[in-house]
Amino acid sequence: MAEETVSEDAVFEKIADAIAEIGPEREDVKKEATLESLDVDSLDLVEVGQVIEEEFGVEIKGEDVEKLKTVGDVVDLVVKRAS
């Protein structure tokens, strides 16, 4: 099967939707926004990870969680692993 490139924008849209499901307003979910400022804790991030895995087949591991500070960090990780 040919490698499919995942567009960064598409990843961001999906992740932002998943984060907005958890609580924050969708328009506040920007790449530079920190997870802390959006009140997304480690348990929430596991739930976002479930959506990511379903959509992109990328697993967010326990050791990743502490390194992810902003929405952009999550997007970058997914794009990197998916390609």
Binding site: L43, V46, E47
Partner: protein, 401 residues
């Protein structure tokens, strides 16, 4: 001298509506909150009380607790954005439940079957654990004293109040937010109760009536703010009533059926009266457990006669479950709250739908609401409120207002 425990706040979410007074008024008027064989809290909307995030992270049994607690705590003098009226290190929180977050359990079991282990929410356990309501409430209001759940099935609401009373008496806290909650209206609990033939096939809750054929499941929450009497007096807080006594016992007989002799329940009633320093002649009213099952209502009648003697036949004995169904772990708390209002109003609310006397069940089950005899006058009216649970647990409160 023992520290006295008074009630400075009450709140309920029941199938009759949101707010303790609403439930009481509708019950007194003979209205029922039961529909299609269940008692759902249709008027309760979690988003009125919780942010989107908090609503997602809590089971319904915690959500109804938060609503009931808000009403109770506001009445007790807690205001949004203001300092608490008491030292929060001296405030505890005990919220009972019969089953806990069974809707969350059901949902995540389905996810596990459909999507495998990775489909299960990381929040499943903190949502479904029986102490989730107490934990969330303590976090929400910054309550720093002892906090836990009490699990004794349908006696749990009364046990939570009794346990809270003891903690205050012992000096472990000056105030405890105490009550019970249940939200089990899903296919799992419904099927299980159905298969043990506990639920009414006719879909009618009619406690103590000869035609009773099982209970109707209800959902909701009742929360009280219990406070040491001097603490309430020192801050000029209005007192709604008093928890005078508590008695608990076990049948040690059968896991679901009550002991037909009613002996376990008799011991709990006698102990509650003794603890309160009251006699059967001091009572104005009995708020029965009255589930509408053949077994409970007969053994409870037996127990009341054994514990109260001739006085049992003079007293109004009514069941709140005739209008809200059986709220399991919430029942005892909601019923204690509505009993306190009834005592304050000097009224005996009815066992709605009671028409046909069953052989050997000779008490006055109050088919129509009526004023209490008011035997104690200005000292306040006194009642017992019974709670009996699967497991053979009996918990009885003696209340005054």
């Amino acid at each position: 001298m023992s520290r006295r425990v008074v009630v400075t706040g009450i709140g309920t979410v029941t199938p009759l509506g949101v707010g303790a007074r609403t439930s009481y008024d509708r019950w007194l008027a003979g209205e029922s909150g039961l529909e299609d064989g269940e008692g759902r809290c249709d008027e309760f909307d979690p988003t009125d009380y919780l942010s989107k995030k908090d609503a997602r992270r809590t089971d319904r049994f915690t959500q109804v607790t938060i609503a009931a607690a808000k009403e109770a705590l506001e009445q007790a003098g807690f205001e949004d954005g203001e300092d608490a009226p008491v030292d929060l290190e001296r405030v505890g929180c005990i919220i009972a439940t019969g089953i806990g977050g069974i809707l969350t359990l059901e949902k995540n079991s389905k996810l596990l079957a459909e999507k495998g282990p990775k489909g299960v929410s990381p929040l499943a356990v903190p949502m479904l654990m029986p102490n989730a309501a107490a934990g969330n409430l303590a976090m929400r209001y910054g309550l720093l004293g002892p906090s836990h759940s009490v699990a004794s099935a349908c006696a749990a609401g009364a046990d939570a109040i009794g346990t809270a009373m003891r903690l205050i008496q012992a000096g472990d806290a000056d105030m405890i937010v105490a009550g019970g909650s249940e939200a089990a209206l899903g296919s799992l609990a419904q099927a299980a109760f159905d298969n043990m033939h506990a639920i009414s096939p006719s879909g009618i809750s009619r406690p103590f009536d000869a035609r009773r054929d099982g209970f109707i499941m209800g959902e909701g929450s009742g929360v009280l703010v219990l406070e040491e009497a001097e603490s309430a007096a020192a801050r000029d807080q209005e007192v709604l009533g008093e928890v005078l006594g508590f008695g608990a016992s076990s049948d040690a007989h059968h896991i679901t059926a009550p002991d037909p002799s009613g002996d376990g329940a008799t011991r709990a009633i006698k102990r509650a009266l003794e603890d309160a320093g009251m006699t059967p002649d001091d009572l104005d009213y009995v708020n029965a457990h009255g589930t509408s099952t053949q077994l409970n209502d007969r053994s409870e009648t037996e127990a009341l006669v054994k514990a109260l003697g001739e006085r049992a036949k003079q007293l109004p004995v009514s069941s709140t479950k005739s209008v809200i169904g059986h709220m399991l772990g919430a029942a005892g708390a909601v019923e204690a709250i509505l009993t306190l209002i009834a005592l304050k109003e000097r009224m005996a609310p009815p066992t709605v739908g009671w028409e046909e006397r069953d052989e050997g069940m000779d008490l006055d089950y109050v088919p129509e609401a009526r004023p209490l005899e008011d035997v104690n006058g200005d000292d306040g009216a006194v009642a017992i409120s019974n709670g009996f649970g699967f497991g053979g647990h009996n918990a009885v409160l003696c209340l005054r207002a």
